[in-house]
Amino acid sequence: MPSRPDSIPPRLQLEGVRKSFGATVALDGVSLAVGAGEVHALVGENGAGKSTLMKVLAGVYAPDAGTMQIDGEFYRPVRPLDARQAGIVMVHQELAIAPHLTVTENITLGAEPMRGPLVDLREARRLAHDALTELGRPDIALDGPAGDLSIAEQQLLEIARAIALGCRVLVLDEPTSSLTLADTEKLFGLVRRLRSQGRSVIYISHFLEEVKEISDRFTVLRDGASVGGGRTADATPDEIARLMVGRSVSELYTRSPRQPGERLLAVENVAGPRKPTAASLELRRGEVLGLAGLVGAGRTELLRAIFGLDPVVDGRVRVAAFSGAATPARRWRQGVGLVSEDRKIEGLALALSIADNLTLTRLPAFVTPARQAADSARWIEKLGVRCAHPLQAIRELSGGNQQKVAVARLLHHEVDVLLLDEPTRGVDVGAKQTIYRVIDELACSGKAVLVVSSYLPELLGLCDRIAVMCRGVLGPARPVAEWDEHKIMLAATATTPARAA
């Protein structure tokens, strides 16, 4: 990264920050310098280390190595409160608003001005009013409940809270992901206002056009390291995308030659309550179809709508000869299975045993635990699940082995259509390889597989065809030979998505 011309220390400077969790290296030497009155974009693929870096900055994780400085002074937070006191405030994608409290109470939350043992209400209102005025929105009623405000206004409330705290560095994490275009423009106006007041803003986004428009400088993270950056004006979106994905495809993936057969799943113009807005696809026997896109583009919602977990507002889903309303129970009976993206919250019942989790969808009316264990033992052996016993509680297993069980549930049910949502998230390389092998074997034996993944090499290595989803709209599925990471990235980060033909 080019050094700044002046000798004043930057507002925030990170050098060689490292952090690993067990054997997984999350941050592998990140350097970053943000000046006062600068909007600094932080970009990178999902899993590149952005959120870990922000958690280090916020004092949630302590770094293993490296230094952080604010205005030339060393900064070593050990808890989130330290970050706030140092003037670093985060505004996350999921807003942290207490909907029942008033606007004033939200803005001063945790930093209420006191008069003796009591909250100084007049001073609190003044602080809230000043912060909102500084943001150009003195019209927001101070005494109304925050829950009545729009999403954009709630976000503004969080920024107002940062200002009332006297923040020096404001971190905006994917701030436009749930905003309309008009609200996005207003947010940009706000960010420019903050910049002119001399505050620093770290702007995390996937949308490269946004990065071009709003930021002064940028840094690219890839595989936990800062791999490039500079003045935004000097770089094209194309060059930034190349920095984000530039790595070699490893030899992890297996894709045997296979012939697509009859159509098993047809999705026609499906729309959900919020996302997706328009999605059509066809899935055949003996085929692996990949869904690429950014987190929040609506891929998970599409899978859930197909499976009957989320309502379908418009459009049609047909599984083989079946059409009509879907419930998960019906889908299982029709031979469709889903692996949830979040195995801890939804995918697995952690307190139950491996056998219970594995056989849950296909229990006979009378269950014999010995039979359950024997059935499970077969899959445990086939997928190499490392465990003491089939009746062991699944929470005692590692993430990779838990995920193997989640996948094995579909194998045990002998489904024809597999809906896999981020099947290798948070699993080790060995488990990844097993899951890739299983997907290949299934496709070769005539099953149909639909994979959602945010890890592009994985999609390019596994799939026969790939479709890209962007802001709720699913693009056309093209043979994998017509895609590369760069093209997928551009399609996924387009401001106006290309509609399916």
Partner: protein
């Protein structure tokens, strides 16, 4: 690596053993303590028959409550269900119905209360705590209304014999009935799809939904089962009182829940055993009985029982190990 996994699986096995036998060990310790202090009066067949007789009503309620709590629910209306049930039985007997039909009527009344709970919980999406808190009051009121706020003592029938102690420490029929039903429900929980689904819903409702478990239907059934066992408890309570009383069994639900919790079930769902719950109920009877034998005042017993509930849950927490 291998060593740590062995160590952790050994620790896991130890925790499983504790989970299976913890309540039994607790019961043994309580009995041993009172036996050591009052051998002559405590360790007699008659005394154990009395303690079992006093456990039967709570035990019957605890069987149903175990199913409800494993599924992640709660039922605060059991005490009122029992009162309403005894009144229903008394009224049916006054109509000269055969005792068997009257008893089934009482059990059916309990099932109906459970059905109402189940429908309110699933169809209106209300939390079971609130629904059954409301029903606790409403059912008690209904019982008082039906009975004109008076206990009802119908003519003597064989129902009144159900809880009578026999000669030389032989157990009342009601105790055997409770034990038989407990075995049935324990087998159901372990060996049927329905039972496995109860555990799945309580452990992680979202996973159960993902796996196609019909959650609404299942929950309604679970509360009906809870209610039916409230009805069984009502039959036993009726036999004990030899009449229907709208003011009986106040606060019974808390004893029932305490028995289930002492028995190793988790109020957050997903775990629990019928055997454990019955042992939990019996522990409370043993403590009450033993304290009386020691000549302790009633208030001391209440403090001791309260301490046992908190202590049992704390031990359970230790058994679970540290969870992040």
């Amino acid at each position: 690596m291998a060593a740590t996994s062995n160590a952790s699986s050994a620790a896991a096995r130890f925790r499983r053993v504790l989970a299976a036998f913890g309540p039994a060990i607790g019961l043994f310790c309580a009995c041993a303590l009172f036996a050591a202090l009052r051998w002559r009066t405590f360790v007699t067949a008659d005394n154990f028959a009395i303690m079992l007789q006093q456990t039967a009503v709570i035990g019957a309620g605890a069987i149903g409550m175990t199913v409800v709590i494993i599924a992640g629910g709660i039922d605060l209306s059991v005490g009122s269900t029992v009162a309403l049930g005894t009144v229903a039985i008394a009224l049916l007997l006054q109509q000269h119905l055969p005792p068997l039909l009257a008893a089934l009527g009482g059990i059916g009344t309990g099932g109906l209360c459970g059905l109402v709970t189940g429908l309110l919980v699933t169809r209106l999406g209300l939390t079971p705590f609130i629904v059954t808190l409301g029903l606790m009051g409403a059912l008690r009121g209904a019982a008082k209304g039906l009975a004109s706020e008076q206990p009802i003592y119908p003519d003597d029938t064989w129902l009144n014999q159900l809880m009578r102690l026999g000669e030389h420490g032989s157990l009342p029929i009601g105790v055997w009935l409770t034990l038989a039903l407990a075995v049935l429900v324990a087998l159901m929980l372990r060996y049927t799809r329905f039972g496995r689904h109860v555990f799945a819903i309580g452990s992680n409702e979202q996973t159960a939904r993902l796996c196609g478990v019909p959650i609404e239907r299942q929950k309604i059934l679970i509360y009906v089962i809870g209610g039916l066992f409230g009805g069984v408890a009502a039959v036993l309570q009726f036999a004990y009182l030899t009449g229907g009383d709208p003011t009986t069994a106040v606060g019974l639900e808390l004893n029932v829940i305490a028995a289930v919790v002492i028995g190793g079930a988790s109020l957050s769902g997903g775990q629990g055993t019928v055997l454990g719950s019955l042992i939990g109920a019996f522990i409370m009877s043993v403590v009450a009985n033993g304290c009386t034998k020691l000549g302790m005042a009633n208030w001391v017993q209440e403090i001791v029982t309260g301490g046992i509930i908190v202590g049992a849950v704390f031990l359970d927490k230790l058994r679970q190990g540290r969870r992040d």
